[in-house]
């Protein structure tokens, strides 16, 4: 009986709960647009410079990975915000 009450209470969405879930979805959805575009531009220019000067491909690849790490961190900030909204905020 207790379990049923908890399940029913969890299934009935209040405005705050709906807003929280909507915010979590928007956070991750809009948050990865920027890093996605940025990664595309960066890796594209890295590929172009490797095509221009193949002897520098090792250096370019190293710097490309640094750039990937920094840009993907931004997408992960959005992911962490969405996790906080889903699981930490009541």
């Amino acid at each position: 009986m207790n379990v049923a009450a908890i399940v029913i209470a969890a299934a009935e969405p209040t405005l705050a709960q709906a807003a929280r879930l909507l915010g979590a979805g928007l956070a991750i959805g809009l948050g990865v647009i920027g890093p996605g575009v940025g990664l595309g531009i960066m890796i594209g220019s890295a590929l172009q410079s490797i095509a221009r000067q193949p002897e520098l491909s090792g250096d370019i690849r190293t710097n490309m990975f640094i750039g990937i790490g920094i840009i993907e961190a931004l997408a992960l900030y959005a992911f962490v915000v969405s996790l906080i909204l889903l699981f930490v905020v009541k």
């Binding site: 190293t62 640094i66 790490g69 961190a73 992960l76 900030y77 962490v80």
Partner: protein, 287 residues
């Protein structure tokens, strides 16, 4: 290495079969209610007393960190004992990792102070690499002692400590090289107009503190998201109750697992190279 090549194929097949049989006999876990917050609470394995605000109990990430240290120390001692002039196998791997850390990370980014700061950067690289990789081996640390994945670096407490180490070493390197006042003065861009000068100074201070957040959250969120996606994919293979979808999703899960190994290497590399950039930036003379 040559001993392994002489073992016939059927022995390997028997070994794999025996492992699968043992795996099927392993204890299973069962849950009635799934509460996500419970997945992340840590239960102490050895309960130790609380000294002030610090709880010294041994929990799962503590054991994983000890395992990381144990693996690194044992491999280092073994390799340093069996060093030969014409190296074979393990020594080549360790030398490759050392060369990657020295030339690829510290040498390619830092202009000065490579020799004095390489111990920290190399240690950070190896530690984060082994801690990430151990997180991909299922070990019996789940509840009811089932096999489960867990990454020590998937815990924000661990990564904040690593990021704080980089921060403290950056400030120490700058203050040691330039003196306290000289280091603070190096944050001011001399050829900027006066109002912008203060703004750049304040933004530099903020960005120094934000580096702790970015270093720790990058590593933590990468490992956490990787394991979460892995768990979802492995579970989805069983969820649809259809053999075809199960096989396809299992193949996809294996590809995702290989991608997670790649991400483990990349995140260790990025942590080390960003630490090298920050320490090198604090050491360099002209702005």
């Amino acid at each position: 290495m040559s001993v392994l090549r002489r073992i016939p194929v059927w022995v390997w097949a028997l070994f794999v079969l025996g492992f699968l049989v043992l795996l099927s006999l392993a204890p299973r876990g069962h849950k009635e209610n799934f509460n996500v917050a419970d997945e992340f609470t840590l239960h102490p394995l050895i309960k130790l007393p609380k000294v002030g605000p610090i709880d010294f109990s041994v929990t799962k990430p503590v054991v994983y960190l000890w395992m990381t240290v144990a693996i690194i120390v044992v491999v280092a001692i073994v390799v340093s004992r069996i060093m030969k002039r014409r190296p074979g196998g393990l020594q080549v791997v360790i030398e490759t990792i050392y060369q990657l850390a020295y030339d690829g990370i510290a040498g390619s980014v830092m202009k000065t102070g490579i020799d004095s700061w390489f111990p920290y950067i190399g240690s950070a690289f190896i530690f984060v690499l082994i801690a990430n990789l151990i997180g991909l081996i299922p070990l019996p640390f789940g509840e009811h002692h089932q096999l489960a994945f867990y990454a020590a670096t998937g815990n924000l407490n661990v990564t904040i400590v690593l990021a704080l180490l980089t921060f403290v070493f950056t400030q120490y390197a700058g203050i040691h090289a330039k003196g306290g006042l000289g280091y603070v003065k190096s944050w001011i861009l001399p050829q900027a107009p006066p109002v912008l000068k203060q703004l750049i100074f304040v933004m530099h201070i903020i960005s120094e503190f934000f580096r702790i957040v970015s270093l720790s959250v990058r590593l933590f969120a990468n490992m956490l998201a990787g394991h979460a996606i892995l768990a979802v994919f492995f579970a989805m293979a069983l969820l649809f109750q259809s053999y075809l979808i199960g096989v396809v999703l299992q193949a996809g899960s294996i590809l995702l697992y290989l991608f997670e190994i790649f991400i483990a290497f990349i995140q260790a590399f990025i942590f080390a190279i960003l630490s090298a950039v920050y320490i090198g930036g604090a050491l360099e003379d002209e702005h």
